[in-house]
Subunit: 345 residues, 4 copies
Amino acid sequence: MAYQAGVVGGSGYTGAELLRLLSGHPDIDVVSVTGASNAGASVGSLYPSLGVAYPGLEYVPFDAAAIGELDLAFLALPHGESQRIAPELVDAVPHLVDLGADFRLPAPAYEQWYGTGHTAPELIDRFAFGLPELYRDSITQRAHAASPGCYPTAASLALAPLLAAGLVEPTGIIVDAMSGVSGAGRTLKHTSHFAEVDESVSAYGVLTHRHTAEMELALSHVSGQPAQVLFTPHLVPMVRGIHATCHARPAVDGLSTASLLATYREFYAGEPFVAVVDDPPPTKAATGGNGALLTVRFDERTGSVLAIGVIDNLVKGASGQAIQNANLLLGLPETAGLNAIGMWP
Amino acid sequence: MAYQAGVVGGSGYTGAELLRLLSGHPDIDVVSVTGASNAGASVGSLYPSLGVAYPGLEYVPFDAAAIGELDLAFLALPHGESQRIAPELVDAVPHLVDLGADFRLPAPAYEQWYGTGHTAPELIDRFAFGLPELYRDSITQRAHAASPGCYPTAASLALAPLLAAGLVEPTGIIVDAMSGVSGAGRTLKHTSHFAEVDESVSAYGVLTHRHTAEMELALSHVSGQPAQVLFTPHLVPMVRGIHATCHARPAVDGLSTASLLATYREFYAGEPFVAVVDDPPPTKAATGGNGALLTVRFDERTGSVLAIGVIDNLVKGASGQAIQNANLLLGLPETAGLNAIGMWP
Amino acid sequence: MAYQAGVVGGSGYTGAELLRLLSGHPDIDVVSVTGASNAGASVGSLYPSLGVAYPGLEYVPFDAAAIGELDLAFLALPHGESQRIAPELVDAVPHLVDLGADFRLPAPAYEQWYGTGHTAPELIDRFAFGLPELYRDSITQRAHAASPGCYPTAASLALAPLLAAGLVEPTGIIVDAMSGVSGAGRTLKHTSHFAEVDESVSAYGVLTHRHTAEMELALSHVSGQPAQVLFTPHLVPMVRGIHATCHARPAVDGLSTASLLATYREFYAGEPFVAVVDDPPPTKAATGGNGALLTVRFDERTGSVLAIGVIDNLVKGASGQAIQNANLLLGLPETAGLNAIGMWP
Amino acid sequence: MAYQAGVVGGSGYTGAELLRLLSGHPDIDVVSVTGASNAGASVGSLYPSLGVAYPGLEYVPFDAAAIGELDLAFLALPHGESQRIAPELVDAVPHLVDLGADFRLPAPAYEQWYGTGHTAPELIDRFAFGLPELYRDSITQRAHAASPGCYPTAASLALAPLLAAGLVEPTGIIVDAMSGVSGAGRTLKHTSHFAEVDESVSAYGVLTHRHTAEMELALSHVSGQPAQVLFTPHLVPMVRGIHATCHARPAVDGLSTASLLATYREFYAGEPFVAVVDDPPPTKAATGGNGALLTVRFDERTGSVLAIGVIDNLVKGASGQAIQNANLLLGLPETAGLNAIGMWP
């Protein structure tokens, strides 16, 4: 019998993407979806594409008791809201997968980057950092997981083999990344307004984007040393996709592109969702699927290392990875429900 | 055991989309894919997204004998090529599904609209017109099917209930339709060149587009009278999607939007891939899935009927419908391998 | 000495486009721009591109007395607001050019389509319908002009020669038109949200779009008989551009595409902003310029007439045409400040 | 009387953009435009937007004698072709402005990055490096100019104030830049094919892009020391625009964002086409105009400097800058014909 799951905060894009992906999951059934301001509306009224798969499903107000009876809940809420409801849920629901930022960082880092105190710091450690390729053991040993952000997923996967092997310095790392506009969510704002962002590229969150902290966390984890990253995100006129272009300084002599590619292939051997490729991967190669495509270069001329990672921000960068975490928490095959390949063109 | 299938002409977009969709089909395995100019290349080299699902698959030259040993072959060739190879295949392969135009029309209509004689006219009748919602019996009674074009699929589904019930005149029909650029295929041309077609809309094939003949064929079939359509396609700057806006003159009195919507819902009751909706459907609702979304209006003010249909041109308009036909030919559930819902956003 | 002009409502897209175009006008200087909710902000803070040309210009609150001292005012306000301020301005300002809908229609038509009474019906006749190619005499005989909407401009120019010559019936006209998203303005809404509308086409305002009334007004004017139009607008994923595909039934025998093109060329001979072209024009041909490109066809097969018109919705469809009207009202050369040609690619 | 100019190679995008911009130039008339494969075609047949301004102009085959009688010629040719025709033109035509790469680099750098010998190395020094903000004196002292590439223009302007003042190290510079697809020209290729590049971002030319050499040339020029740059270009789904995100290591203590912005404003004081802005500029702010918008940051946390520059690749990155160079060579006001501001939205 399938596990009964709820989606708390199902009216945003990551919630809708959970519903899309879970409609094909063999072992997880969505039985409840909450949406504060959309309570009473059918999911099909917000997302016509979902109406077919969930003909009777309507958004309901959040009710901790009802969620508490499920096997599993995904929290797809605006940042700050998970920590408000988590105290009621962490013991009631066997498994929580939080897609927000509330349980990704240790309390001090959270407070530094979010500029506000955490209201449930004692619960943070009950959530594994849900980047399975780098934290799989931690995830399987905990009840709950906090899926990382889209940018940290792409950049951390792209840089991890270098830091794990001590091939580059953990400081002085530069990440210039580009994201599709869906990453900014369904909330209306001028920086998501078609006529403003179509046919335009702009940097934003310069020096201060909060995903920096998650990158530094994950890269310190694999490195064993404190990592430091200067991260600059850019908004590009497409719906989905993250492209992370990452620069690091060699810590050893004798690097070559060939040896780095070999290191990457060994590091990710057997990973179902990571492909190390020879040519720079386009984000389109990942659209709609849970895969990350990576490549790496050593530039002899300037003596620096360049790594590239691409993902679909809503799948591997959010809802797909959340399901991958759920599979691990439930003891299911890690790829269950995630076999669909990307859509090209 | 799964049926062994080949894709003849797998390097274009409809071929790639067949591979994408069939990677999740429970009863059909792709064992061979041909691609004349790309022979020797891996499918992943043309379509990075496909490399994961088909790690060892390479394009091979077409070989009728090899294809003849399969249970099923999809022909995804440029118009004119299927009729050249069909004579070698129609008796050797149990089931052919042709995605091209060669076996959709009777020979005289073919010659009228394509301006050239058909080289295998005696084989045309062995292919059913592969629009299952309107020709399901014909498909199950034949060995082979010719899937219709993307525009005729959208427009015929949008108009069929009106003509089947005799509610509108079969002549004087106007179809103004819009297509994403993938409909023009992978072949390089200025009308598919990004800088030329992005941020632009243009009509093309005005008065002469060959898909007119398929619309008139299908609508005459449901009407029982000769239908006549003025079809004007437009290229719009998106990758996927067809939007057909269709106008017809009432043949009876007393029409209303409510009664027309009811007629549509009854006509398509039980159809797994057709949704009749109240609001004008956006093409995005169909992206990536095999669904068609339809709505209809009666305009009291001008006394005319307006019907709208949207599909994904590469799925319901091509490769998804081809698989739906294959399922019917093989006696499989019609929805096998086609359950994935559309991707929004 | 240049005329001193104000832009009332300069924070929306038509206001910004007025500022862009007027920055190069030899005889009109913008000395004041109002913007209710943006008062105090510099125009460059909303529109970085405008900051260079208007380094010190800030939005100010509307002040009828201040506007009353100018030679000319453009009203680029949300529908309904012009009629509230017009009583204070019509006698104080020598020339008003209204870009909204308030003074385009006779009061009864306004009330029918807008569903509300007009608050200054006695002033409507003091505004010419500002479509210079069809109403030039009326414009030069009045003090004020009301520029028509983007869709009516494109469709009326595309159909006018047919109706003026009595070649088609004035009823049964069908206009299927497509617009870029900037036509919906700068106000935030989900139907202008990038992730919702990119890669999608949808019809909207079906049967009820208010621009229908302006098309019927202009076409009745050239026809001398009451014209009736079924107008269906579609939103397409581009910033700028209108494509109007128009269908009409012949009223005479013996039409041909060649004769219709000749009729169009004669009708628009000498018009500086209308080009009659042989091939279907792409909207990109008009981007950024004040031109309208038209073509026409007679379909022998179905016996119907098809006309196509394209414009830039923000230029010929709004701010460029408003300046064209201002030039006429002021007795300047009609093309003053409007010589820039379209931008391709 | 206006100067008589020719455009050699006017059928590509930079040629078309020269025609668009020069149609409004008060002192330069285009009297001849060559286009090898398009000889005999009207410019309006390739670029409908140009037909209005150049009703009779047709592409003609290149004829050195005819060009030799002009006052000025723009060479907008594929790389490698200018050096073949320059020997016939450098003494015959008073002023050449080359938009290609042939005369930008010293011969050794040309051979290193282009992998082939230069066929007219003795002529290279007769062309100034046409980046007026950094090489104005050199341009006014020579007869001819070679306009730099789009990426080098954006990146060099963004980094120059830092290197001129010795605030950053000239080595270890990283430039991650993004370009619209028009930068790849009108030649058909899959990396400009709509369905392949829309909704996708990808890096290309990794480690080896030839524009690196021009950046190093210009930055060494302002620095007085050899500069070294690792440049990675990315293709993003828009028509126009360059966004250069540039990283450099401080060479001095005590930097701050405020002091760097002040340095930039002083460095570019009086420059008509450079705006130093506080917020990260979107590329849309430059669309259609000849401006460059720049900003700069010092990141206290990681101790590094980040500079951003945006331009329109076809205007300041190509044809607009070529006209700016022509104005300098002819002794005209540097802004002649270049006053049009950007188009937003």
